[in-house]
């Protein structure tokens, strides 16, 4: 068995993880979105590498193109001349919350990792063999953790997309590119784009109706309104 | 020959009447009255027919499966027909009375709709052929009574409704648990079985049987208003008088007492109940209720609440009769089921008449009302004397059989309770009679009635008057001609000797 992993895969995996980190934890939203487009392009590359050109094409058009456009639409950059929401997310969770999320994400990673270890025998011996699978685990954990942590709607949308990519990668890594897996991933990509588009439209609408405050989900003013005696 | 269509048809008269009444517009007074009375008469006819067929030896049964192993059963048997007859007859009277009582008040459509539902449920309880079916109608009764209790919509009425629901729904839940346990232990259990069939479980499941008995009777005791779960009843007095009459005389409390009858006689069987030692417990509980209710009634200053506590006391006579092992106790229980209904309904009609015609709610406002409303006061006198247990009113018959049953069951101490309660009854009813007939009041030119209305050219509206006179005469007749073959006593004796006891 080949002990050294394919270098390109390794690099791609590292790059994907780094880009995911960047787009998830950059408080500057425009920058985060740009990073996300880069992330999606890398994903397309990963699909190519995994031998699924159709998926690469879908990822390129749906993930990078349409999703990116949706995100920029949400930010008011597209179409030009729209009202611009604030470009930075200033909301800070308390440290404790962040720590809990981190622990949860780690536990999550452990759980998926254990399952993989049983499901893919190779993983038990040299986990490095399948770097993209590992990247998928990391991305899904990061995405989920970030999704749970963030409050800004756009950032949650980003986190969801990263999570989705991680899941797709895991799926592809586990099954190869059988038809059923491709069908699942294509559906998933389509749904992710539709969801992002819907989310983007909602963000714009909310900003239009309520201002910047509304973009922080579950903030105090709204909670007060809902709970009653 | 099994006329299976008869029981569901009798049941559907009042349910259909409810639907039609709900569908009619609020101001269709004539139509509603017509439907009400028509349905009541048709139902009475059907029930009489059913009763006749029961005498002939038929047991008309209607059944279909609800889930695997559990049937919905409507069955006309002698015991059920007693209750059905009572409810049909008093429904007719109460409907007539209610038409007069609510004349001109709002929400009559709602009232009569739920009123019909309420009586329909009562008939269902009477005809139920197993505990499952019984439970269905028992809970339906709870629900259909709630709108009647809160009918006035005042905060007091709404609070009473809440208390009523708290008690009855909790009781219903306890009952449900008991029924489920019983079904799990013994499977489907029809009231029609000879003997209880539960004896086989006695050696191994004595504790469970005891628990089931306690749950069933405990759940039913809520509606029968036994101490200490009687609290809803006096509060429910805020309801309009026909409702109080219905609650107290026919529907709710009777449903509880009737349920206990069914449980002791038809589910467990009296021998098994004695064997379990539950009859003594029941007798003590009933005696406590009887005495407590009377003591509390003594302290009431409102007419209706005095009657309410009197009901608490009186209904437990039925339970007491059930707990006295032997034919006389059974006869007493069955007879009182009917007698108490007739007398109490009369008393509540009277109370309603005083309130409607003269605005009287408190006992000390009754001075001299006998002159102003002689027929009402006469009816009240009949009812009150019956409650005390004086002949020839129907109450005497019950007391007589209760006493005999007590000696027969080896519990002569019950006689002490009976006599003491008779004296207490006299202590709280005779002063009312004294005020009615012997004290001088507004009718003699002393003071004025709280709120006098002239509802008719007689002492009050004919709608209010004649049903009351009818029930008063019936309670008198039930006592005077108790030894006739189809009197309540005669019927009860036939049931007790023919159906239940070895």
């Amino acid at each position: 068995m080949n002990a050294t992993p394919p270098l390109f895969d390794l690099l791609l995996a590292l790059g994907l993880t780094a880009l995911a980190l960047g787009c998830l934890f950059d408080r500057h939203l425009v920058r985060a979105c740009i990073v996300f487009v880069g992330f999606a392009l890398s994903m397309a590359l990963a699909w190519w590498q995994l031998g699924a050109p159709w998926l690469a094409l879908a990822e390129f058009s749906l993930g990078a193109g349409l999703t990116g456009c949706s995100l920029f639409y949400a930010l008011g950059i597209l179409p030009p001349g729209s009202p611009l929401p604030p470009r930075r997310d200033w909301f800070r969770e308390p440290f404790r919350q962040a720590a809990i999320r981190a622990v949860l994400a780690l536990a999550w990673m452990g759980m998926i990792g254990t399952a993989l270890r049983h499901s893919v025998p190779v993983m038990a011996y040299s986990p490095i063999q399948q770097p993209l699978l590992l990247a998928g685990v990391a991305m899904s954990a990061l995405g989920l953790g970030a999704f749970a942590l963030h409050r800004h709607l756009l950032r949650r949308l980003l986190a969801f997309n990263v999570l989705g990519s991680g899941v797709f990668l895991l799926l592809a890594g586990l099954t190869g590119t059988v038809a059923q897996a491709q069908a699942l991933i294509i559906t998933g990509l389509g749904v992710a784009w539709l969801g992002t588009l819907l989310g983007a439209m909602l963000i714009r609408r909310l900003y239009h109706l309520q201002g910047a405050k509304a973009l922080i989900s579950d903030n105090e003013s709204l909670r007060q309104k809902r709970s009653g005696p | 020959m099994n006329a299976a269509w008869l029981p569901p048809m009798a049941l559907s008269t009042s349910l259909l009447a409810a639907v039609v009444i709900f569908a009619l517009p609020e101001n269709a007074w004539r139509w509603r009255t017509g439907v009400n009375l028509g349905a009541a008469l048709v139902k009475l006819t059907l029930v009489v027919l059913l009763g006749y067929r029961v005498v002939e030896g038929h047991r008309d049964t209607f059944r279909f499966p609800v889930v695997e192993g559990i049937d919905f059963v409507l069955r006309a048997d002698a015991l059920g027909m007693m209750f059905a007859g009572l409810s049909s007859l008093l429904w007719l009277c109460t409907t007539l009375y209610a038409i007069g009582y609510l004349e001109g008040s709002p929400n009559r459509k709602r009232f009569f709709g739920f009123f019909s539902l309420c009586v329909g449920s009562t008939l269902g309880i009477a005809l139920a052929g197993n505990l499952f079916t019984f439970l269905i109608f028992y809970e339906m009764l709870t629900l259909s009574t709630y709108p009647l209790v809160v009918h006035r919509g005042t905060p007091k009425a709404l609070d009473a409704g809440r208390v009523y629901l708290r008690y009855t729904l909790a009781g219903g839940t306890v009952l449900l648990l008991g029924v489920v346990l019983l079904y799990s232990l013994a499977g489907e259990h029809s009231f029609a079985l000879e003997g209880s069939g539960l004896e086989v479980f006695l050696p191994d499941y004595r504790g469970l049987l005891l628990l089931i008995f306690a749950l069933l009777v405990g759940g039913l005791a809520v509606k029968a208003a036994m101490v200490p779960v009687h609290g809803w009843l006096p509060r429910a007095m805020v309801a309009p008088a026909p409702v109080s009459a219905l609650l107290h005389a026919v529907a709710v409390v009777k449903a509880g007492a009737f349920g206990i009858l069914r449980v002791v006689y038809d589910v467990f069987g009296i021998e098994l109940s004695v064997e379990l030692g539950m009859t003594t417990v029941l007798a003590v509980a009933a005696s406590i209720t009887i005495v407590y209710g009377s003591l509390r009634a003594l302290a009431q200053e409102e007419l209706k609440s005095r009657l309410a506590f009197s009901t608490i006391s009186q209904v437990s006579y039925i339970v007491l009769g059930i707990s006295l092992f032997g034919p006389f106790g059974t006869i007493a229980a069955l007879t009182h089921l009917l007698h108490q209904g007739l007398m109490k309904v009369t008393l509540f009609f009277c109370a309603g008449n005083y309130a409607e015609e003269l605005g009287i709610h408190r006992i000390d406002e009754l001075n001299g009302a006998g002159r102003r409303m002689p027929l009402t006061s006469l009816a009240f006198t009949v009812g009150a004397l019956g409650m005390i247990g004086l002949p020839p009113v129907a109450g005497f018959i019950t007391k007589w059989y209760l006493g005999m049953g007590a000696v027969q069951a080896g519990m002569p101490w019950v006689i002490v309770v009976l006599v003491a309660v008779s004296m207490l009854n006299a202590m709280y009813f005779l002063p009312i009679l004294y005020r009615l007939w012997f004290r001088l009041g507004p009718a003699h030119g002393h003071g004025a009635w709280p709120e006098e209305r002239r509802l008719g050219h007689m002492e009050t509206s004919a709608w209010l008057l004649w049903p009351m006179v009818a029930t008063a005469l019936l309670s008198l007749g039930a006592g005077l001609f108790a030894a006739m073959p189809f009197s309540p006593l005669g019927w009860a004796t036939a049931v007790a000797l023919g159906d239940y006891l070895p």
């Binding site: 536990a107 254990t114 809902r226 | 005999m404 049953g405 003699h444 030894a483």
Partner: protein, 603 residues
């Protein structure tokens, strides 16, 4: 014991007359009501008219028809109405007294009727009430006499008891209300005891007739207790000492005709109750019954003497007469007791007792009517009047007429059994009777008034008087049971009279205590005080319970408010769950895996 029928009568004839005797008074009372309603508010109605007076006549007719039996299957618990030798005699004097008292009432209430005619609504109301309830009371009285089944008897007894309340309270004065209430309270107590006894024995022996009941009591395990209970229950009506307190309070306040029937007929119903329920003359009685009989005898003698001593100190003539009734009833109680102590002799005693009762009924009736005569003395010679007024008293004391016959009757019956002590004691009690009658006359004399009399009143009184003196002549008892005393025995019968008069004179002249020392109604005031104290204690207990309950309720409410607050605080964390749904989902997934793994790790 059964007498041959005096008239040969078919059952139909008997039944219809019996029905008429019971229904006629009811119809009359409905008729009065109807006439009152028909006349309207301003109309003038003669309440005590000729029809009304005839209320008791069918019953008299029934007595003349003779013995018979009517079984009614559908009636209450199964009716059995019967005229036996006992009940026939009883019905005779009762109906006679009611008929005469009705006549007397016509005159007695003439004044009130006039007021009513003049437009006095209060008088109208009182007369209407009397006119309606008088026949009802009569019906009850007749029914309880003819009834041989328990239910009918109890029905008649209660009907009479409760309807008579209206007779007592008639004039609505404060004292009348008090008297009526005492009457009612004691009556309810009596009803309760009777009911208890009936229920008990009915349960033990499962009988519905009085005859069965007597046998049942004799054999029942707790027979003596049941008998004692029933004796006490009827004893309230019969004025047994200790339970007699309503008599002296109710009699003086009732109108004279009402007092006459109360004292003459109604308290006798209690005695009839004893005769009906106690196993008298049953030779197979247990030891317990003998003891009971002795007790009853002692109580009876106590009444005979005690009432006499207390009665002579009273001021109101009717109160004195009431005490006289108690005393006389005590003597009758003693005689009844012999049925238990010496059952073999009972067949001799009971006719004497009935004669005694009948005579007492009429004589006492005459005396009570006499009190109204002395208030409206006619223009007759005074001595004649006072002689007439004294006549029934003399007869009661056993010095002449029927009184002498009856006294001789039971004396001779007792002689046969050699109960000399008892005879001597009863003779001694006759002194008391004489003294009481003398005091009553003296009090009447003191309070006499002239004029405003009425013929009905006077002649009814005279008729009663006359009939009382010749009781044995018309009483349907076998003649041999009512022997006229041989001349040699006269002194033995008469001697108590002078002693009694002397005693009365002594008391009246030497020592007349103030009314508050010997209040009318004696023990009642003690009972009332005890009752009030008991009620106070009960009230205090209830009040304390009420306070406890209120405080518990308040505390529970406070607790509920607190719990609600806590609950709402808790429920506010729903928003927290909303915020952290995704985190919770992660935790759930991890937790599920951990759980599944844990479950499957072999331990």
């Amino acid at each position: 014991m059964m007498l041959p029928d005096t008239l040969t009568s078919s059952a139909l004839w008997f039944n219809s007359l019996l029905g008429l005797a019971l229904l006629w008074p009811l119809l009359l009372s409905i008729k009065v009501m109807w006439r009152h309603v028909a006349a309207g508010d301003q109309g003038v109605v003669q309440y005590l008219n000729g029809w009304w007076l005839s209320a008791a006549w069918p019953a008299l007719g029934l007595v003349l028809v003779g013995n018979g039996q009517w079984i009614l299957d559908g009636w209450i618990l199964g009716g059995q109405w019967e005229l036996t030798a006992l009940s026939r005699a009883w019905l005779m004097f009762t109906a006679l007294l009611w008929a005469l008292a009705a006549l007397h009432a016509r005159g007695y209430f003439a004044h009130e009727q006039a007021e009513a005619n003049a437009g006095d609504t209060a008088a109208r109301r009182r007369l209407l009430r009397l006119a309606v309830l008088w026949p009802l009371t009569l019906t009850g009285n007749i029914l309880l006499i003819v009834a041989q089944d328990i239910a009918s008897f109890y029905l008649g007894f209660s009907l009479m008891t409760f309807a008579a309340y209206a007779l007592v309270i008639h004039d609505e004065s404060q004292r009348a209300v008090l008297g009526a209430h005492v009457y009612l309270i004691m009556a309810v107590l009596g009803e309760g005891m009777v009911l208890g006894g009936f229920l008990w024995v009915a349960g033990e022996a499962q009988v519905l007739t009085l005859e069965g009941l007597r046998e049942g009591i004799a054999q029942a395990p707790h027979g003596v207790a049941i008998a004692a209970l029933l004796w006490g229950g009827f004893g309230i009506k019969a004025g047994v000492i200790g339970l007699h307190v309503w008599l002296p309070l109710a009699h003086p306040v009732a109108p004279a005709p009402a007092s006459a029937v109360l004292s003459g007929a109604m308290i006798k119903a209690g005695l009839l109750g004893w005769l009906n329920v106690l196993p008298l003359g049953n030779s197979l009685l247990s030891e317990g019954f003998l003891r009971l009989g002795q007790l009853i005898m002692v109580v009876g003698l106590l009444a005979a003497f005690g009432a006499a001593i207390y009665g002579v100190m009273q001021r109101h003539p009717k109160a004195v007469l009431a005490y006289s009734s108690i005393s006389q009833m005590g003597m009758m109680t003693t005689l009844v007791a012999t049925g238990l102590t010496a059952p073999d002799n009972w067949h001799l005693v009971w006719p004497a007792l009935v004669l005694f009762v009948a005579h007492h009924a009429l004589a006492k009736g005459a005396l009570f009517m006499g009190t109204s005569i002395s208030e409206h003395l006619p223009a007759w010679p005074l001595t004649l009047m006072w002689a007439l007024l004294a006549l029934p008293g003399l007869s009661l004391a056993g010095t002449l007429g029927a009184g002498m016959v009856s006294k001789w009757g039971f004396k001779s019956a007792l002689y046969d059994n050699e109960q000399t002590t008892l005879i001597w004691l009863l003779s001694l009690a006759a002194i008391g009777t004489a003294a009481l009658v003398s005091v009553a006359l003296w009090r009447q004399w003191q309070q006499r008034q002239v004029g405003k009399g009425n013929g009905w009143q006077l002649y009814a009184w005279l008729a009663t008087l006359g009939l009382a003196l010749i009781t044995p002549v018309w009483l349907p008892l076998p003649a041999e049971s009512m022997p006229f005393p041989p001349f040699a025995e006269w002194p033995g019968l008469v001697w108590p009279l002078p002693l009694g008069v002397l005693a009365a004179g002594l008391v009246l002249t030497l020592w007349t205590p103030r009314p508050f020392i010997v209040p009318t109604g004696d023990l009642w005031w003690l009972y009332a005080a005890l009752g009030r104290a008991g009620a106070n204690v009960y009230g205090a207990m209830v009040h304390r319970l009420f306070i406890t309950k209120a405080s518990i309720v308040t505390r529970a409410l406070a607790m509920e408010t607190l719990l609600m607050k806590r609950l709402e605080q808790l429920l506010a964390s729903d928003a927290w769950m909303r915020r952290h749904a995704s985190g919770l989902m992660m935790a759930l997934a991890v937790g599920l895996v951990a759980l599944l793994a844990w479950e499957n790790i072999p331990s």
